[in-house]
């Protein structure tokens, strides 16, 4: 039971308190690039969540049973990148097959999940924090949910912004960055939610 509570707390902490985008500032590129429409943003979030969860599981296995067992921690970066790239390739093929429309909407940002720092960051944080397998998977899933939450919120705001009277100089990227900053400050408010 103790463990179960820990897992739930870890999940909430990853989603809200240590949100990958708004607190750790990882994965800003798709956060700004694919947040024009709520629908595509949500799909991007789902794809990223999927990749993140699988990455967390795969990198934990590789790290524990191969790299740590053989005392090769310096291979973390290389092996994690390979795993992430393959997973993204797999997701790309899967989405292309199942939903060509979504594939088109995500465009270049789908293969760019490979170079999304949020995913490599996740993979590197797992051995750093010394999570168990279950905790790693929950951490990965939570990170994905946090990413989805942030990007969907952002997309919602930007959709509303289309009708807003934004001063000329701030139109486009500047106002988006300002909003991202305000959202990050708002998420700071979660920092006292739970203490682990």
């Amino acid at each position: 039971m103790e463990q179960f509570t820990q897992v739930i707390l870890l999940f909430i902490s990853t989603v809200l308190i240590n949100n990958f985008i708004l607190v750790r500032f990882l994965g800003i590129c798709p956060f700004l690039g694919v947040s024009k429409h709520v629908e595509t943003a949500f799909s991007m979030g789902l794809a990223t969540t999927f990749v993140m969860t699988l990455t967390a599981a795969a990198t934990w296995l590789i790290n524990t049973f191969i790299l740590e067992a053989l005392n090769l921690p310096f291979l973390q970066y290389v092996s994690f990148i390979i795993v992430i790239a393959s997973l993204v390739q797999f997701v790309e093929m899967f989405i292309k097959k199942t939903s060509p429309v979504l594939y088109k909407a995500l465009g270049i940002f789908l293969p760019l999940i490979t170079t999304n720092c949020a995913i490599l960051g996740l993979a590197l944080l797992i051995p750093l924090n010394g999570y168990s397998f279950i905790a790693s998977v929950v951490f990965g899933f939570g990170a994905g949910v946090g990413f989805t939450l942030a990007i969907v919120l952002m997309a919602g705001l930007r959709e509303g912004l289309e009708f807003g009277d934004v001063p000329g100089t701030l139109r486009g990227v500047p106002i988006t960055l300002i909003i991202a900053g305000i959202m990050a400050m708002a998420f700071m408010g979660f920092s006292g939610l739970i203490s682990m």
């Binding site: 191969i66 291979l75 092996s79 390979i82 393959s86 899967f94 292309k96 097959k97």
Partner: protein, 330 residues
């Protein structure tokens, strides 16, 4: 120590092999039956992925063409050649792409237009216009600092010696950036096939225009009266041409007293109908001034007094019975 190398190579090799096998399996499993024509179309495209067609790259353009979303002649870089190749693959008529280019509607360069003084300041049209409308007295004139040249992404605009932009129709892709950039709004997009341009945008009265510019439109309306197809309309002291109606006969340019109208082709001097004529009456129907007469199935004749040498009959004739004579032929 050596074991580190061996373990590294073995573990990385093992992981890679495993993932490669997984991906290989997945690519078989998730194979997509793509329209084979998409690959073929992509092969004939230039492959520069420049995005001038409005799609993300050549691959997405190829897909759009095959699906019918994009026109066969949608690739501006490849031009007619690529369009006809794509047409062959898809079994569609390529159609002749009507090329559109930017045109400057001002002829008043340093020599022709009078200036009120010398402008010394930030050397952009935008800044000069904001001060007091620029050096030239005419407020519809080219400011001459080349904002259009600066904004053109294709290097199609170069400022000439006379202080007017010169547009290279070969390089121009009609992106419209210069049209937006010009503070006096004297650039517009016109079909490249149009050879007759009224190079003035001034709505000032004829009296004033005469004083401040040698080549300005004085609003006399002669061009509108001589135009056989009513393509020129007088709008507030300015002759405005309708490129859709214009038949490029060049008559207006010949009659324009100030030389505002420029005809950039050779003027036809004489038109005659030869004995290949089968009397189909197509030319007579095409003639805007009713200069052609003749019975059905009999050879038609041109009334040279009425004929304005527009060449429309030449284009209408299906049996090469109309001969055009240029200056060099006579």
């Amino acid at each position: 120590m050596d074991s580190v190398y061996i373990y590294s190579i073995l573990s990385m090799g093992g992981i890679s092999a495993l993932l490669a096998a997984g991906l290989g399996f997945a690519s078989k499993k998730f194979v997509i039956d793509q329209d084979p024509r998409i690959d073929k179309v992509e092969d004939v495209l230039p492959g520069a992925n420049c995005g001038a067609c409005g799609y993300a790259g050549c691959a997405s353009f190829a897909e759009a063409v095959v699906e019918g979303d994009a026109p066969v002649n949608g690739c501006p870089v490849g031009g007619d050649k690529v369009a006809s190749n794509i047409g062959d693959i898809l079994g569609k008529d390529a159609g002749s792409s009507t090329k559109i280019v930017a045109e400057l509607l001002c002829g008043g360069g340093k020599k022709e237009a009078r200036r009120r003084g010398e402008y010394k300041g930030i050397e952009t049209c935008q800044a000069a216009d904001a001060i007091n409308g620029g050096e030239k007295i005419c407020s519809f004139s080219c400011l001459g600092f080349g904002d259009c040249e600066a904004v053109c992404p294709f290097d199609a605009i170069v400022m000439g010696e006379n202080g007017l932009p010169e547009i290279d129709p070969e390089k121009c892709t009609a992106c419209g950036k210069c049209v937006e950039a010009c503070p006096h709004n004297i650039l517009l997009l016109a079909p490249n096939s149009a050879k007759t341009h009224i190079r003035c945008s001034s709505h000032d009265s004829g009296k004033l225009v005469r004083k401040i510019c040698e080549v300005g439109c004085i609003g006399c309306g002669i061009c509108a009266r001589v135009c056989p197809v009513d393509a020129i309309e007088m709008q507030d002291n300015l002759a405005v041409i309708d490129y859709d109606k214009c038949v490029n006969c060049g008559l207006c340019a010949e009659k324009c007293p100030t030389g505002t109208i420029k005809f950039q082709a050779e003027r036809i001097q004489q038109v005659e109908i030869n004995d290949k004529c089968v009397g189909c009456t197509l030319c007579a129907k095409a003639c805007p001034v009713d200069a052609i007469s003749g019975e059905v199935k009999e050879r038609h004749v041109i009334d040279q007094d009425k004929c304005i040498q527009c060449g429309l009959c030449f284009e209408a004739c299906n049996v090469d019975a109309v001969d055009l004579f240029y200056e060099k032929d006579l």
